[in-house]
Amino acid sequence: MVRVIDRDEVRRLMEQGAQIVDVLPAREYGEDHLPGAVNLPLRKIEAEALRVLDPSRPVVVYCADPG
């Protein structure tokens, strides 16, 4: 189950070692992303998530904005 969180909670989870995942296209990720975020574009996420992410740690996903 996915829980929507705000900026303060993201920061708290980052301090606790959560994995931050940027689902935007690679070009946008390269321009700017949250500190320590990995890039898993939406079209690749199903295929790559198990390979890239540690299932024992929390995962925070984000994109550009709510729109």
């Binding site: 829980r3 969180i5 705000d6 700017d32 925070v60 984000y62 904005d65």
Partner: protein
């Protein structure tokens, strides 16, 4: 699994650091003066002017109790009749800019419009600070 619903735009609007090629571009968050004096509606201008001068400034941002920007008092406004209230003198609803805006962009705007200073706010209008001409590499305005 968590979803940061408001995304990286929210993060940048708050002036938080990012990584990537854009991170090297100077942005308003890097130059904004967070120590700008503030005042409230209903205050006497003379009291505000004394406080602003004591802090070494010549500008003051008018904010709500929640720090939403309501207006601006620049040097000219601060020299008005000290018995007037802030509301009667301030420049209401100034144009505001977000922390992630590049410095070069605001420099162009301030140069084109001959602005002395510009407030920087979050997306919900809360004051982050004030950017002055010298903070973006501009000289003073010719009288």
């Amino acid at each position: 699994m968590y979803d940061y619903g408001t995304g990286i735009l929210d993060w940048k609007t708050a002036g938080l650091p990012v990584e990537g090629t854009n991170a090297q571009v100077p942005r308003l968050v890097d130059v904004v003066r967070r120590d700008v004096p503030t005042c409230s509606l209903g205050e006497r201008l003379g009291d505000v002017r004394d406080r602003v001068a004591a802090a070494g400034w010549d500008a003051c941002v008018v904010v709500s109790p929640g720090r939403v920007v309501l207006g601006l008092l620049r040097a000219r406004e601060l020299q008005a009749d000290p018995q007037q209230l802030v509301d009667q003198v301030m420049r209401p609803g100034p144009s505001t800019y977000r922390p992630f805006v590049p410095v070069a962009e605001l420099r162009g705007i301030m140069s084109d419009r001959n602005l002395e200073s510009s407030p920087v706010t979050t997306s919900d209008g809360r004051l982050v600070g004030l950017v002055r001409r010298q903070d973006v590499g501009l000289g003073t305005i010719d009288p």
